[in-house]
């Protein structure tokens, strides 16, 4: 039974996802002790190897799988860097449905490159009875609310977060990824059917719809269990990273309800999804140094 982590990294004109993925791959190796496979495109991989060095890149990843980039895929996203700065750039995320086929592992933890692995919590997934696990519960570093669920629209279905997915190579998992592909290809139709306003393609929405469909168009989650963690810790892009204090130790700024007012939160041995990619880019080299 092979086990490993799968990540995607496709750079755009300004954000270096590859570097972030390298940092996180080292964090995965340290905290989970499993190999990492990267799915990327030729341009991103070439650039990454050139700036970081091929030896170092090979040290980070067990396999690098190159996929052909679909240049006609136009998916603009506003990347915020606190509430005071934002830039609209391409967000290449149209090939996550391929993860099932591309993963070289029998058991895969499919994580976003910006979900920093700072604990061994996800090791509880290995050997699970469940074929597929994904979370709908999240919480944030900046408030004292217990993990909660969100919905894709005020009257919509439950939102599952495709940030971390555990799957085994079974027919059931395959159905989900095939459905995600279908939803992506017909995204405008599903956007209207499920009444969400944002036209940007989100894998979170696609997986939520796929799960809803596989549950017989009900919101019960009888087929899908959550990951063995209380919820995904989400640091929104309205905040920033204050400092990396050491191994598995990070301090973040979180914006309070009033714009421009912040609170600091220090997180130790807790995995965290940093949505502010600019902030992550600023500390990626520091993380690489720390975990190398």
């Amino acid at each position: 039974m092979t086990r490993g982590v799968l990540m995607y990294a496709h750079n755009n004109s300004e954000l270096d996802y590859f570097r972030i993925a390298c940092a996180n791959a080292l964090m995965v190796k340290k905290n989970l002790g499993v190999p990492v496979t990267l799915v990327t495109d030729e341009g991103t991989a070439e650039y990454g190897k050139k700036v970081l060095g091929e030896d170092f890149v090979n040290q980070c990843f067990e396999h690098i799988i190159l996929t052909k980039r679909n240049w006609s895929f136009d998916n603009k996203r506003t990347f915020g860097d606190t509430s005071y700065s934002a830039k609209t750039l391409q967000f290449y995320n149209c090939n996550h449905w391929e993860a099932y086929e591309l993963s070289p592992y029998d058991e895969t933890l499919f994580i976003d490159a910006d979900y920093l692995i700072m604990s061994s919590a996800l090791n509880n997934c290995w050997g699970s009875e469940n074929e597929f696990m994904i979370n709908h519960k999240i919480f944030t570093p900046g408030d004292a609310k217990d993990p909660y669920s969100k919905y894709i629209d005020e009257f919509g279905i439950r939102l599952y977060w495709a940030t971390v997915i555990y799957f085994k190579k079974t027919d059931f998992s395959k159905f989900i990824f095939e459905l995600v592909k279908h939803i992506q290809e017909n995204y405008n139709y599903y956007r209207q059917l499920y009444s969400f306003s944002n036209s940007m393609f989100r894998n979170d929405n696609a997986f939520s719809i796929a799960i809803h469909t596989l549950n017989g168009f009900t919101d019960s989650n009888s087929n899908i269990n959550q990951l063995p963690i209380p919820g995904l810790l989400m640091a929104w892009d309205t905040g920033d990273i204050h400092s990396v204090n050491g191994t598995n130790d990070i301090t973040v700024y979180c914006e309070k309800d009033i714009k421009g007012t912040y609170m600091l939160a220090r997180l130790r041995n807790q995995d965290i999804h940093i949505i502010n990619k600019w902030a992550l880019g600023r500390v990626a080299d520091q993380l690489i140094e720390l975990y190398k």
């Binding site: 604990s119 919590a121 090791n123 509880n124 997934c125 290995w126 050997g127 699970s128 009875e129 469940n130 919480f139 570093p141 900046g142 408030d143 004292a144 217990d146 993990p147 269990n225 063995p228 963690i229 209380p230 919820g231 810790l233 598995n248 301090t251 309070k256 609170m263 600091l264 939160a265 220090r266 997180l267 130790r268 041995n269 807790q270």
Partner: protein, 119 residues
């Protein structure tokens, strides 16, 4: 008046940071109390420990129990499982206690965030 108001606002900020940091420690402890065994997921709490203690005292060596997802899981060595969950429970709660103590005794935002918790 302005000074007093400023002090009140600084205190509010301190209290908010303190509560938030305590909350993060609580969630971390809850996460660490999730335990995987034989493909199942169990949340370690007093109830689970007491149940397995009862099974051990009843002389059972193995048993099928329901995990957090209500899936049936065969625990093939009850005594060993009890030992594992009890050990984990006290490791986590002791760490949580130490961390919470350090946070609570901090008197300003800076010291709350500078605390040295046990790894």
């Amino acid at each position: 008046m302005e000074d007093r108001l400023q002090q009140a606002l600084a205190f509010a900020n301190y209290k908010q940071t303190l509560n938030n940091q305590l909350h993060k420690s609580k969630i971390k402890a809850e996460g660490q109390l999730m335990f995987a065994e034989a493909g199942g997921k169990f949340t370690i709490n007093q109830e689970l420990i007491c149940f397995f203690d009862y099974l051990t005292r009843s002389g059972l060596k193995e048993a099928t129990v329901l995990d957090d997802n209500k899936s049936p899981i065969l625990i093939s060595n009850i005594e060993e499982f009890l030992k594992k969950i009890t050990t984990r429970y006290f490791e986590v709660t002791n760490d949580y206690l130490q961390e919470a103590k350090l946070i609570k005794k901090s008197r300003d935002v800076k010291s709350i965030l500078d605390i040295k918790a046990s790894e």
